[in-house]
C-alpha cells in the first residue's frame, strides 16, 4: 500500500507539522497518554530528563510522575513490571535505551509477554509496547548499533515493527500502543534527525525537508502488518525496512534501476500480499537489512518469496546485509551496507 493510501487510515485533523522522528514518537506518546488513562511510559532516564534521545521530553511534566517515570537500570525489571501492569489492565510503553540491551529482558519478552495470552487462554494479556533505538551509523560501536529484529520474529506472539520516517513512526507507535498484542518497536536511531541515504560523508538532510517529515498533530494510526511501496518500479523488488529504506532508494537511483522499493514497516506479522504481488511482477528480488546476515530476517523473506514466487523468479534472491561480525566501531562504514554495496546487489540480481 502506498503513501496516499496511508492517509486514508488516519483520522487526524489535516493539520500537519514538520517533525523529526523524535518529535513524532513523542507526539504519539503524548496523544496516547492524553487519550487513555491506562497508558504509562517508563524506562531508564525517560522521566525527569526525557530520555537519552529526548523522545519523552516534557511528558513527565505534563502527565505527572506516576504516568511517566524513571526506572532502575534493569531491562528485565522494566519489561517484567510492564507485563504485570498489563495483567492489571494498563498499557505500558517502555523504553530499552538501546536495542543492544534487550537481552536481560529476553526471558520476560519471549517466555512471558509473548506467551501470556496463549497460556492463559486470554485470561491475562500483555498489551505492552517496547521501544528500542536500533541500528548503527553513529559510531556507537558493537553495543550501540545492533539490529536484533530477527530474534523477535522467531518468537510467536510478538509483533515487530520498524518505521523509517516520522509519519510512519507516529502512526505505527499509536497503533502499537493500542494493539492488544505485545509489540517490539524498533527505532532506527540514524534516522531520528533526518533521512539517511547511506552517504555518510554528505551533509545531513533534516526531516523538515522531506515529505515524510510532515506529520499530523493529532491522533492517527498506520495499520500494523501493512507495508508501504516507497517507490514503484518494474525491474526489481527490494524488500527492506528501517535505516536501509533510503539507502535502497539512493542505490536504485545511482544504479539506474527501476526498482520497486517496499518498506515493510511491520516486520512480523507482515504484509505478504504486497511483497508477493511485487515479486510476481518484477521477477527479481533483493532483500536489504543492516542486521547480520545469517538467520537475519532476510532469510525468512527469501524463504517466503521463493515459496510464493518460485516460478516467477528469474534470478536468485540477493541479500545485502551487515556482515556476520559484531558491529565494529572504527570500520563502521565498511560494515554498513551502504549504497554502493546495495547497488552491487541490485546489479547481481539484474544479471542472474
Amino acid at each position: 500500500m502506498d503513501v496516499t493510501e496511508q492517509s486514508s487510515e488516519t483520522t487526524a485533523s489535516a493539520r500537519c507539522t514538520p517533525m523529526t522522528m523524535i518529535q513524532a514518537l513523542r507526539s504519539a506518546m503524548d496523544v496516547m497518554l492524553e487519550r487513555d488513562s491506562n497508558v504509562v511510559v517508563f524506562g531508564q532516564d525517560v522521566g525527569y530528563f526525557g530520555g537519552v534521545f529526548r523522545c519523552t521530553e516534557g511528558l513527565q511534566k505534563k502527565y505527572g510522575q506516576s504516568r511517566v517515570f524513571d526506572a532502575p537500570i534493569s531491562e528485565g525489571g522494566i519489561v517484567g513490571a510492564a507485563v504485570g501492569m498489563g495483567a492489571y489492565g494498563l498499557r505500558a510503553v517502555v523504553e530499552i535505551q538501546f536495542a543492544d540491551y534487550f537481552y536481560p529482558a529476553s526471558d520476560q519478552i519471549v517466555s512471558e509477554a509473548a506467551r501470556l495470552r496463549y497460556r492463559s487462554v486470554g485470561d491475562f494479556t500483555a498489551p505492552i509496547t517496547i521501544r528500542m533505538p536500533c541500528g548503527g551509523g553513529i559510531y556507537g560501536g558493537q553495543t550501540h548499533s545492533q539490529s536484533p529484529e530477527a530474534m523477535f520474529t522467531h518468537v510467536c506472539g510478538l509483533r515487530t515493527v520498524m518505521p523509517s520516517n516520522p509519519y510512519d513512526a507516529k502512526g505505527l507507535l499509536i497503533a502499537a500502543i493500542e494493539c492488544d498484542d505485545p509489540v517490539i518497536f524498533l527505532e532506527p536511531k540514524r534516522l531520528y534527525n533526518g533521512p539517511f541515504d547511506g552517504h555518510h560523508d554528505s551533509p545531513v538532510i533534516p526531516w523538515s525537508q522531506h515529505r515524510l517529515g510532515a506529520v499530523p498533530e493529532g491522533y492517527y494510526t498506520v495499520a500494523l502488518a501493512s507495508a508501504s511501496v516507497l517507490r514503484p518500479g518494474s525491474e526489481l523488488t527490494v524488500l527492506t525496512y528501517g535505516t536501509m529504506v533510503f539507502v535502497a532508494e539512493a542505490a536504485a537511483a545511482e544504479a539506474g534501476i527501476d526498482a520497486e522499493i517496499i518498506d515493510l514497516r511491520s516486520i512480523w506479522p507482515l504484509d505478504l500480499e504486497t511483497i508477493v504481488a511485487s515479486v510476481r511482477k518484477t521477477g527479481r528480488c533483493v532483500v536489504v537489512h543492516e542486521a547480520t546476515r545469517t538467520s537475519g530476517f532476510g532469510a525468512e523473506l527469501v524463504a517466503l518469496v521463493q515459496e510464493h514466487c518460485f516460478y516467477q523468479l528469474e534470478a536468485p534472491i540477493e541479500r545485502v546485509t551487515g556482515w556476520d561480525t559484531p558491529y565494529p566501531h572504527a570500520q563502521e562504514w565498511a560494515y554498513f551496507p551502504g549504497p554502493e554495496r546495495v547497488a552491487a546487489g541490485f546489479k547481481r540480481a539484474m544479471q542472474g
Binding site: 534493569s74 525489571g77 492489571y88 496463549y118 497460556r119
Partner: protein
C-alpha cells in the same frame, strides 16, 4: 603481605544425605511467642532482627503464644484446616492419577499446605496472587473455584479451561486472583510488583502477592522484584517459600548458608519477616501484617516461610536419591495440618471425631470431583481439545500466516 595458602572452592553440602540424618540446627529456630510484632508502619531497616528470627505462634502443645497470636475466629481456623486437608487429599489422588497416566505430570504441596491457605485467608477480594506451581492451596481454599474444572486442567481433557495448552498444575484464574503460572521460574515475582505498581498508579486499594521458592530466589527476577518493590514502595507481599529443597539441591546452593532469605529483603530496604510456614496461625498473622502494611501504602514486605518439601519435587522426581528417606519426620517444624488440628482441639473448637468426619467428607468430595472430571476424558484416553485451538490466542486475532498453517494441518 603474608604468604598465602592455595585457595580452594567451597561448595555447600547439606548435613543429611541418603543414609546420613540431617542436622536441622542450621534452621536456627526461635521459640513460639518470642519474636516481637512491630507496628505495620515500621521502617524497613528496623525489621532486621525479624529477618533472622522466626515468627512462631503455636508451641509444641498447640497453644497460641506471643504478640503475633491475634484474636482469630475459630470458624476461620476450621475453614483453613478443612482446606489443608482437602489439598492434601487432592494432591494424593492426583499423584495416583498421574501414576495411572491419566495426566502427564503432577506436583504436590505436601507439608506446605498452611502457607498458601492461611495467606489466602488474610487477603481481600480483588487482590492478585502471582503464584508458583506449589500454591494450589490458594485455589482449593476458595469456594468460587470449581475443583472439577481444576482437575480437567490436570487431565488435559475436553473441558480443560486452558485448552490443553499448559502442563498440569499451571492454572490461571484471574477471577480468583490467581495469575497464570509460568514454567519459567521466578518471572512472576517482578510481574507481581508491576501489578502492584499499576494498582498504586490507578489509586486502587488492591494489593499483589508474589510467590517464589528458595531455589528460584537465585534467578534475576527475584532481585529485580526486590529492587522495583523498594524503589516504588509497591503494595506487594513478596513470599519466599523456603522448603529447603530445589529439586536435588538444598537451600545452601541457593544462597541460604549462614544467612536467611528474609535478610536479602532488609538489605534492599524492604521490611522482612522470617516465619514458621508450618504454623497456620503465624502464617495468617504475618500475612495480615504485610497486607495491612501494603494496603496502607507503607510499601512491600518480604516474608520467608520456613517449611519443608515433604514429597518429591514433582511426579518425575525421586528424592531418595539425594536426601534421607525419612527427612520430613525429623523436620522440627512438623506437619501444618497436625499442628492446627492440635490447636483447635486444645481450644475446644474441634475434635478427633469431627476430624474423621471431615476427612471422610472431603475425600468423598474430591473423589466425586475427580470422577466427574474424568467423565470428560483424560490424557490417556485421548479426549483432548481440538488441534485447531492450538492456533488461537497466539495473537488477539488469528494472523494470516497462522490461518495458512492451520489449513496446512487440515483442522
Amino acid at each position: 603481605m603474608t604468604r598465602h595458602q592455595a585457595l580452594h572452592l567451597h561448595v555447600p553440602e547439606p548435613t543429611g544425605r541418603p543414609g546420613r540424618e540431617t542436622d536441622f540446627s542450621y534452621l536456627r529456630l526461635s521459640r513460639a511467642g518470642k519474636i516481637r510484632r512491630p507496628p505495620v508502619d515500621t521502617q524497613a531497616l528496623a525489621t532486621r532482627d525479624l529477618a533472622y528470627g522466626l515468627v512462631r505462634v503455636l508451641d509444641d502443645e498447640g497453644r497460641a503464644l506471643g504478640p503475633w497470636a491475634s484474636q482469630i475466629d475459630p470458624q476461620l481456623l476450621r475453614r483453613g484446616l478443612a482446606a489443608m486437608m482437602k489439598t492434601r487429599i487432592f494432591d494424593a489422588r492426583m499423584l495416583i492419577a498421574q501414576r495411572q497416566k491419566k495426566m502427564s505430570f503432577y506436583m504436590q504441596c505436601l507439608g506446605e499446605e498452611a502457607i498458601a491457605i492461611a495467606h489466602a485467608l488474610a487477603l481481600a477480594p480483588g487482590d492478585m496472587c502471582f503464584p508458583t506451581y506449589r500454591q494450589q492451596g490458594l485455589l482449593l481454599v476458595r469456594e468460587d473455584v470449581d475443583m472439577v474444572e481444576m482437575i480437567c486442567q490436570l487431565l488435559s481433557n475436553g473441558r480443560d479451561p486452558l485448552k490443553g495448552r499448559q502442563l498440569p498444575v499451571m492454572y490461571s484464574y484471574k477471577r480468583a486472583g490467581f495469575f497464570s503460572i509460568s514454567g519459567n521460574l521466578a518471572t512472576q515475582f517482578i510481574q507481581a510488583v508491576g501489578w502492584a505498581m499499576a494498582s498504586a498508579i490507578k489509586g486502587d486499594t488492591r494489593i499483589a502477592s508474589g510467590w517464589i521458592g528458595d531455589g528460584a530466589t537465585a534467578e534475576a527476577d527475584f532481585d529485580t522484584a526486590l529492587t522495583f518493590a523498594h524503589v516504588y514502595r509497591a503494595p506487594v507481599i513478596l513470599n519466599v517459600v523456603n522448603n529447603q529443597w530445589a529439586i536435588s539441591t538444598f537451600q545452601g546452593i541457593a544462597g541460604g548458608e549462614g544467612t536467611t532469605f528474609a535478610a536479602r529483603g532488609v538489605g534492599c530496604g524492604i521490611a522482612s519477616l522470617r516465619v514458621d510456614g508450618n504454623d497456620f496461625l503465624a502464617v495468617h498473622a504475618a500475612s495480615q501484617w504485610a497486607a495491612e502494611r501494603a494496603r496502607s501504602n507503607f510499601g512491600p514486605t518480604l516474608i520467608e516461610w520456613v517449611t519443608y518439601r515433604a514429597g518429591p519435587h514433582s511426579s518425575s522426581d525421586d528424592p531418595g536419591k539425594y536426601r534421607p528417606a525419612d527427612d520430613w519426620a525429623h523436620f522440627p517444624l512438623g506437619d501444618p495440618i497436625a499442628r492446627l488440628k492440635q490447636h483447635l482441639i486444645a481450644i475446644g473448637a474441634w475434635s478427633e471425631k469431627e476430624n474423621e468426619e471431615a476427612q471422610r467428607e472431603l475425600e468423598a468430595q474430591v473423589a466425586a470431583a475427580q470422577k466427574e472430571a474424568e467423565s470428560h476424558g483424560t490424557l490417556a484416553d485421548g479426549h483432548l481439545r481440538s488441534a485447531a485451538e492450538m492456533f488461537q490466542d497466539v495473537y488477539k486475532e488469528l494472523p494470516e500466516h497462522l490461518r495458512r498453517q492451520r489449513q496446512e494441518l487440515g483442522v
